[in-house]
Each structure stands twice: as C-alpha cells, then as structure tokens.
C-alpha cells in the first residue's frame, strides 16, 4: 500500500505542471475555450512533446505509462487549470479503442495520436441512449464487401476538429443488447457524414453527427463485427478515470480560489472567512474533496484490474464525483456572491466545467442505479 507518486510520475507531474503554468493561464484558457476549435493546437503539440499524450498509453502500445494512476495524474493537472483540450476524446476513448482493436494501419494511428498529429472523436452516444453504453440504434448493413451505416450520434465532442471519427453501429440484436455492436474508423470527409458543429458551454466544441448511407470499406471495421462492447466498456471506464480526475483538479482550484476570496472579501467590517457559517461549510467542502480524491484513487487503482471490481468502482466514483462536483461548484458560487456569477471572473469557467463532468459518461443518478445493480442488490 503506497499513496506516493513514483519518481517517474513525480517528474511527469512536475514538468506538466510547469508547462501548464506557462501556457494555460486562466485568461488564455477562457479565450481558447470559446475559439473556433475550442483549444490550442500549439498547446496540444506542446503537451504531446512533453509526453503527456504518451503517458496515457502503455509501452506495448507505444506509450510510456497508460495505467489508471498515469491518467489520474495527467487529468488532475489539466483539471486544475480548466484545460479544454480533447484528450479524453482523442487519446483515452479513440486511442484506447485503436490500441485494443486496431489492426495494421489502424494501429499506426496510435503513434500519430501520441505524437500529437492526429485528432479523433468517438461517435457513440445517441439522442435516446442516455449514457447506456449498449444502447445503439445506428444500423450497419453489409453490402458486398462494404459496410453501410445509417443513424444519428449526439454531442460528439471534438468531432469537427477530428481527422477520424470512431462510429458505433449495430448489425444485430435488440437495441440495448451488448452483442451486435461494431466500431468503424471513419474519416470525417466521408460521403454521407454530416457534422453540425457547435460550442459547448464549458468550452470546446461538439457536433451532432448524421449518418446517411455512409459507405465504408471492409478495412474500416475495428476488431470483429458485433464484438465491440467489452472494449467500449473498458475505454469508458478509463475515460471515467480521466474526467473524474479532471473534476478533482477543478475542485482543488475552485476550493483554493474560494478560500482566497473568503480572506479578502470584506462584509460588515471583516473578511467573510471569519464568519463561522462559511468556515464550517468550507470544512464540509474540504471533507468532500478528500472523498473525491479517494474515489479517484479507488477507480484509478482498479481500472486496470478485473471487470467486476472495475465497473463497480466506475459507478461508485462517477456518482460521488457528480454529487461532490455539484456541491463544490454551487457552494463556491454562493460564497463568492455576485462576482461568482460573472463570466469574466475565473471561477465561472471552472465551475461550468465541473458541473458538465456530470453530463459525460453517465451522471450521478445513472451511476447510482448502476452501482445498485453491480454491488447492492
């Protein structure tokens, strides 16, 4: 049992923290968040050069880490500065799928991701699927050697900046069956693919994706036909480590901002941090952030292990992070008062990102129900 960072991870944390301090000031981040692309391609390249993208992949896959604790480290740091880079989408989700299922040239794309020269997006969720991973209504039909896809995907983060989408589609089985789901590697300029791109309230961009008779060659299939669910579940578990660690980083910065504000903001002749009510509420926030940190550690420590324990921790951690994130965001805005409501103060961007974590990969309610199914009943 050891909760210290290894020397290698400590070095990564130090260099990443320094890079972020130099390139991810709050002003820069907030401007980038609303830019056409939603993040900075230069910064992305810088992260890749630093080995940050590679840290999310195992040595076997050409990276330098890839364990749960590597992801937790990287994303906590990114969260601390409120970064909007689509590392979850390109690297953890799509990179993870390519590493697991890619064959031949597909697998080479992992190298491009690690180098920072490739952007990707996972087009999996659908308007009616509500976080349920196995609910896929997009259809794939075989026509000769080709695959033809029809359907609709929603809130595909990073889609318009992506070189490729990975698209899920069903060839057989009921709409929520785990069997029968396949994944395809689809260049974003493929005919029949329509992207309706838009900004996200917490920064970055996403798109609604329409698939109208999208015809793909046999080589576009990732892994075996109808057999993608286990990989989807695994990469979503890994992505849950990422977004939960990001949330933790966000909480830490928000907590620090709020504590600082309580010391300088005066009302009724004294710093508001001298009011016992706010002291005790901050103490509760601190306690809950420690809970969040422990939940992230639990998930990071189990994500590389066997499936049942892994998924139990996925749902436990995502539920807890969703609830604590809401508490921290709402309480920090409340304690700031009016200033906390303004777009130009740095809290706003961070609080919005923190709230939005609950809308990715299943919210607190979804995972509470899932935890009951996995661990209670």
């Amino acid at each position: 049992m050891n909760f210290d960072l290894t020397d290698e991870r400590q070095m990564l944390q130090d260099s990443l923290r320094k890079y972020l301090a130099d390139h991810y000031s709050n002003e820069v981040i907030r401007a980038l968040a609303k830019s056409d692309c939603g993040y900075s391609k230069e910064n992305w390249a810088g992260l890749a050069e630093l080995g940050v993208v590679g840290a999310l992949f195992s040595e076997e896959d050409g990276g330098y880490g890839g364990a749960g604790f590597d992801m937790a480290l990287v994303f906590e740091e990114l969260g601390r500065v409120g970064a909007t880079d689509p590392l979850v989408d390109t690297a953890v989700l799509c990179g993870g799928i390519l590493a697991a299922l890619g064959h031949g040239e597909q697998k080479n794309l992992v190298e491009s991701i690690i180098e920072g020269s490739l952007q990707m997006a996972l087009a999996h969720a659908e308007p009616q699927s509500r976080y349920e991973l196995s609910r896929v209504d997009t259809r794939v039909e075989r026509e000769g050697e080709d695959f033809v896809l029809n359907g609709q995907k929603c809130v595909v983060v990073n889609a318009s900046a992506a070189d490729y989408l990975i698209v899920s589609a069903r060839s057989e089985g009921a709409v929520a069956a785990t069997a029968g789901i396949s994944l395809f590697l689809v260049p974003t300029d493929t005919a029949g693919l329509t992207l309706n791109d838009y900004p996200l309230s917490a920064g970055g961009r996403a798109a609604e994706v329409q698939l109208d008779n999208v015809r793909l060659g046999a080589a576009s299939l990732l892994g075996k036909q109808g057999d993608a669910f286990d990989t989807l579940e695994l990469v979503h578990a890994r992505a849950t480590v990422a977004v939960c660690a990001e949330a933790l980083g966000l909480m830490e910065t928000i907590r620090a901002l709020t504590t600082d504000y309580l010391k300088v903001r005066k009302q009724f002749g004294r710093p508001i941090g001298k009011f016992q009510v706010l002291q005790h509420r901050m103490a509760d926030i601190l306690i809950e952030i420690e809970q969040a940190r422990s939940a992230v550690i639990n998930l990071a420590g189990h994500v590389d292990g066997e499936r049942d324990a892994r998924e139990k921790h996925v749902s436990a951690t995502k539920n807890l992070i969703g609830l604590v994130g809401k508490l921290v965001a709402e309480e920090s805005i409340q304690m700031h008062g009016g200033i906390g409501m303004t777009e130009e103060y740095e809290l706003g961007h961070l609080a919005k990102r923190l709230i939005m974590v609950d809308h990715r990969l299943g919210d607190a309610t979804f995972h509470l129900e899932r935890f009951v199914e996995l661990a209670v009943a």
Partner: protein, 398 residues
C-alpha cells in the same frame, strides 16, 4: 381552517384567466414557455397590454392608477400569469419604486413619475448594490455632494438588472460620512441620459448580459430628484426591500418549472422507457414536488396574513430561502433530465426565429443557462445567509 378560495376570489381568478386567454399574445407565451430571451419590445408590448387593462400595477392603490388588489388577489394574478406563461412584470418601477414614491415622494414627484412608470415612458432600474457592498448594503460608497440645486454624483453601482434598457435609475447614495453607515444615505432618482452616466454590461455565467455596471462621473442631479429627506434614504430602501418581497417564494415559477421538468422527463428516454418512470429519477422529482406542495401552503398562509393586514416579518425570509432552494433544485434536476444535451451552448437557439440548424431539442436549449442563471436566487435580494441570520434573530431571538 379552509383551503378553498371564496367564490369572489374564484370569480377574480376566472376573470384573470379569461383576460390572459384573450390578450396574452401567443408569440410571447411561446417564448416564455421555451425559455427564449425576451427582448425589450416584448416586455414593452406586454406591459402596455396590462396597463390598458389597468392591471399593470396590481399592488398600487387605485388613486395612483393601480388595481388596488389585496395580497390574495395579487397571488391569484401571479399564479395565473405564470400558469399561462406570461412574461413577468418587471419589478423595478412597479413593485419597487412605485410604493416608495407613494409613501415618501412629494406630490410633484408622484404626479410626474408614477404615470410614466405605467405608460412605459420611464424604464427604471435599481442602483443599490456596489462592488464593495453586497450583503452589507449599508457600506455603499457612491457619493452625492451638494452644489446649490444639484448633487454631484460619483461612484459605481453594479448588478443592475436590465440596466441596458433603462432610461431612469433610482439610487442609494452617500450624502454624509458621519455616524453609522446607515445614517448618511439618500435616495436619488437619476436620468440615465445625464452626462457622466455610463453603462457596462456584465456577462453572467449563462452567457447572457442580464446585469450591468453603472458608472457615475460627476453626474449633476437636481435636488428635486431626491425622494424624502436627505440622509434618510436607508428607511426608504428598507421599505422598498419589504415590497420587493411580494411573491418572494416564487411559487408560480416553481410550479411552472416543475411542470416543465415533468414534461421533459416524460419525453426523455431512459433504457427505452420514459425517464419519469425511472425510480431513481422519479424519487428526485417527488421530493421536490412534496416540498413545493408544502411551501405553496406556507406561502398562502403568509399571503392570508398579509391580506388581513398583518405585515409579514421573518416569514418572508423563510419563503426566500425555501423558495430559492426549491427553484434551484428544479433547475438542477431539469439539467440532469436533458442528459448530454446540457453541454451545448448555442446562444442562437435562445433567439426565436434563428436560422441556425437546431442542435438540441427545443425544450433543452435554455435549461443549462437557466440553471446557472438561477444560482442568483440564493445570492441576490439579501443572500440566503443573510436571511438565515434574520430568521434566527427575529424568530428565535438568538
């Protein structure tokens, strides 16, 4: 004890309902229902319709052109308004300034200003808060120095809601530095077109410029524009805050919000069934609905007392806290209900008639913005922390 309205009250409600059915433009109610942004002319149009009916100022005595309704009638009116998705009546001139002028203004001020509030010639905004003075309102610093027939006003106000549309602002300003902070404050009416007044919008975290900063740089304000006595403004301000508390619980908004949440939860799917049938989600709706059922009755109890002439005291604070908590809980659960469609921020979708390709379901477009915007409910008008202190002092004598 009797929970039912009298026949007279029911008849009044019927009258309001019939009026709204006949006169509320569908273009306006559709915007309200889907959370779209109301522009200036929308609000002016609706105020004019109500004014024509004599119902714009329900709380004003008839002598001043108001409807002269009692608390129960005002409640019924509010309930029907929110139920019909009518735009809300802006409170600044009608609920806030009007009663102050009627109580403390000179006859000239009443004759000059009150009709202009009703006919829309004056769009008022509120100049209370300052950057350094939030819950501690009395620590305000904007100063007015007397020079002959004028005050010279310098300073800054903030959180001025819809100040971008206003041509008049009522302000608390410091006219004396001696004594307690409360003692040197005066109440001034300032033309926003005066030289030296400038307005800067503040974009809130929902992305909308709802509030503003208002700067005063050597602004000349006639002494005649002072309401009441010099240095007695705090008294008038407190009076105003009491009147602002009409409908402080926001029951109508909560009821409409809960209905909207249920509608969405019947449309959204969870595992192939309507979300509302998911017990984990339904339990959260039920908890809010149960709280709202009780709070509505607390609200009626306070209204009933007010209609009988008893001034509500710390009960208003209780309604403020519980009312804002319930509305915020509804906002948060509605955000949960729309799932990943809470993430997009497509401001064009809030503008009716936009040509942008729709991204999210119509019911989802305003949900995230409303959630973030309504964090204000527990901050403004005396934060919930201030309200709790009022309650513990007034009712518990702690």
């Amino acid at each position: 004890m009797n929970l039912e309205y009298t026949d007279e009250q029911l008849a009044f409600r019927q009258e309001v309902r019939a009026f709204l059915e006949a006169e509320l433009p569908e273009s306006l109610s559709a915007k309200v229902k889907s959370g779209k942004t109301l522009n200036k002319s929308d609000i002016e149009q609706w105020h004019a319709i109500l004014n024509k009916q004599g119902w714009l100022a329900g709380n004003w005595p008839k002598a001043y052109g108001g409807a002269g309704w009692n608390a129960v009638q005002r409640h019924l009116f509010e309930e029907e308004m929110t139920g019909a998705s009518a735009p809300r009546i802006l409170p600044f001139g009608l609920a806030m300034l009007g009663p102050v002028l009627q109580e403390f203004g000179s006859a000239e001020q009443q004759e000059y200003y009150l009709p202009k509030v009703l006919n829309g010639e004056h769009w008022w905004c509120q100049g209370y808060s300052e950057p350094g003075a939030g819950s501690d309102l009395a620590s305000l610093k904007t100063r007015a120095e007397r020079e002959g027939d004028h005050y010279i006003v310098n300073g800054q106000k903030t959180w001025t809601t819809l100040g971008q549309h206003a041509n008049m602002i009522f302000c608390l300003v410091r006219t004396a530095k001696e004594g307690k902070p409360q003692e040197g404050i005066s109440f001034l009416l300032i033309d926003m077109n005066s030289e030296g007044v400038s307005v800067r919008p503040i974009v809130l975290i929902d992305g909308e410029p709802e509030v503003n900063e208002v700067f005063f740089d050597n602004v000349k304000v006639p002494v005649a524009n002072r309401v009441g006595e010099e240095n007695k403004g705090w008294t008038y301000a407190k009076y105003l805050l009491t009147h602002e508390r009409t409908n402080i619980a926001g029951v109508g908004f909560a009821v409409a919000g809960l209905e909207s949440l249920k509608r969405i939860a019947r449309t959204e799917q969870s595992k192939g069934r309507p979300l509302i049938e998911n017990p984990y989600f339904a339990a959260q709706i039920a908890r809010i609905e149960i709280d709202l059922m009780a709070m509505s009755t607390t609200n009626l109890r306070v209204i009933s007392k007010a209609a009988a002439g008893q001034a509500p005291g710390a009960e208003s604070s209780m309604l403020k806290v519980k009312g804002s908590e319930i509305r915020q809980a509804i906002n948060a659960l509605t955000r949960s209900a729309i799932g990943s469609y809470a993430m997009p921020f497509v401001s064009e979708e809030l503008e009716p008639g936009s040509n942008a390709l729709p991204v999210v379901p119509d019911y989802a477009a305003s949900v995230t913005g409303a959630y973030f915007n309504n964090r204000k409910l527990s901050i403004y008008g005396g934060s919930n922390e201030i309200q709790r202190s009022i309650i513990s002092k007034a009712l518990l004598e702690l």
